[in-house]
């Protein structure tokens, strides 16, 4: 005993083929909940700013007046807290890892949500106000 402990494993591994995945020929393995990168849907965001307040890395910046939603991919650590916190489901976590970048660019989106809804609401509120 004691001298050829590893031999069995070695022989088994010799005939078994590679244990590693042949990335990038084979895509990287992802699970159902893999936190890859955050995607933003500008049509549903109501500029509440919760995501930006919750983000532990200050990766999200939002400007209500200019309707700008920005994410700094280099700051984001893909924790998923913003996705959990968004009350309107505008953010989703996609399983693909974001490709590496060489330049520090902030991804900028223009929020397209508010326009159709707001003019409808305001007259209603006003009429309700004057009616009472």
């Amino acid at each position: 005993m004691g001298y050829f402990e590893m031999t069995r494993t070695v022989l088994r591994n010799l005939v078994r083929g590679p244990a590693t995945r042949q990335y990038p020929a084979v895509p990287a393995r992802t699970g159902p909940f893999t936190r890859g990168h955050v995607t933003f849907d500008p049509t549903t965001c109501r500029s509440c700013g919760l995501c930006s307040r919750r983000c532990p890395c200050e990766a999200i910046r939002i400007e209500k007046e200019e309707k700008v939603w920005e994410i700094d991919r280099m700051r984001c650590v893909a924790c998923g807290d913003c996705v959990e916190g968004c009350p309107f489901g505008s953010l989703t976590m996609e399983p693909e890892y974001f490709p590496p970048v060489v330049e520090h660019v902030v991804e900028r989106h223009t929020i397209t949500y508010v326009k159709p809804e707001k003019p409808e609401k305001k007259p209603k509120e006003e009429s309700a106000g004057t009616g009472a």
Partner: protein, 359 residues
């Protein structure tokens, strides 16, 4: 008397991926004294508690270390929960235990690989990491992250594991345990490994205790201290006996870790068997006001999070003592008497994690 020379070792070293610097005082090839220095990767994470809300800091705590990330989050959350008197639901406690043990598994397998690499046993190194990969796959499937799990939060956990997945994990445990035992047999029984490790870097029981060593370094010297015995999370229900070796050399520390791999598999199995149904978290209202020393057993030993809240959303102070810091004095005691060629093995035997240590 031979002339003394000083050989710098690290922070960049081919065998040791951890940025620790040691000044080795040598007489010929024999180490007679060691002066350690750290401070290469300090990131100021403790200071961040004053800038991040206490619920957000979990993500920071998790990123203190890339290996025991889940346990750092767990330790932090348990501390806050204790200050705020939050009782975590049982299912959350069990899932925390399962993830903790998975982390321990992958940490120990990683270490076994690195250790084999340090000894020059490349084949064993690759085999350990091959097994580790299957643990990482389970972690990714259940939490969404391979090393940063991100599932712990103040008041519970963020994600459930479905019964189907739990059953699948349970089925996978038996073949996995067999593979781990095959691997462990090489570490425990192979003559070449024994020849390289036995009698190397010895530290006695008393010395290990008085120097405040932690984890497998302490247990390898015969002191039965394991915080899982205190019964945090679900360890109280599962029951746990610390694994102890008495020789105090590198072989003993290696044996403790190999046996802890088996113990972790057993703990996961019993946790899956006994997991209760129920909610995953409780709502946490208010802010922490008070202080607490939270302690958790990490793969490398006992981690301590000291947390003090002053009733605001930001903690006033956090202090984190990691196991590697406690093990460095023991390391300084172990090295004199070793050959220069054995230094990487002895240093690795305490499983140093310097990014933990410097936070």
């Amino acid at each position: 008397m031979p002339k003394r020379i000083v050989v710098p070792f690290g922070p960049q070293h081919p065998v040791l991926p951890e940025p620790i610097h040691l000044d080795l005082v040598l007489e010929d090839e024999l180490v007679v004294d060691v002066v350690p220095s750290i401070g290469y990767i300090h990131r100021g994470l403790e200071q961040l508690v004053q800038k991040r809300e206490f619920t957000e800091y979990v993500y920071v705590a998790e990123r203190i270390c890339g290996i025991c990330s889940f346990m750092h989050a767990l330790c932090y959350c348990q501390g806050i929960e204790h200050i705020m008197k939050v009782e975590v639901p049982d299912r959350a406690k069990y899932l925390r235990t399962i993830w903790s043990e998975c982390s321990r598994l992958h940490s120990h397998l990683l270490w076994l690989g690195l250790f084999a690499d340090g000894m020059g046993f490349e084949n064993l190194f690759m085999r350990s990491w091959q097994l580790r990969e299957s643990v990482l796959d389970v972690l990714e499937d259940t939490t969404g992250g391979r090393v940063i799990q991100g599932t712990c939060k103040v008041g519970g956990i963020r994600r459930d594991i479905g019964q189907e997945k739990l059953d699948e994990m349970h089925r996978a445990l038996d073949p996995f345990e067999q593979q781990c035992r095959d691997l462990g047999d090489v570490f425990l029984n192979d003559e070449t490994v024994k020849y390289r490790l036995q009698g190397l870097g010895v530290i006695s029981k008393d010395e290990a205790y008085t120097l405040g060593a932690a984890g497998p370094t302490l247990r390898g010297s015969g002191v039965a201290v394991d915080l899982r015995e205190t019964g945090y999370a679900a360890y109280g229900d599962l029951g746990f006996k610390p694994i102890v070796e008495t020789a105090g050399d590198c072989y003993a520390r290696c044996a403790v870790r190999v046996k802890e791999v088996y113990a972790s598999i057993d703990l996961i199995r019993r946790a899956i068997d006994g997991i209760p149904e129920g909610p995953l978290d409780v709502k946490v209202k208010g802010a922490p006001d008070g202080e607490y020393f939270s302690r958790v057993e990490q793969p490398r030993g006992e981690v301590v999070h000291y947390l003090r809240g002053d009733g605001t959303k930001h903690l006033a102070r956090a202090r984190i003592r990691t196991p590697t810091l406690a093990n460095i004095p023991a390391l300084v005691k172990m090295l004199p008497g070793a050959q220069l060629a054995d230094v990487p093995v002895v240093v690795l035997s305490i499983d140093p994690c310097i990014s933990c240590t410097e936070r």
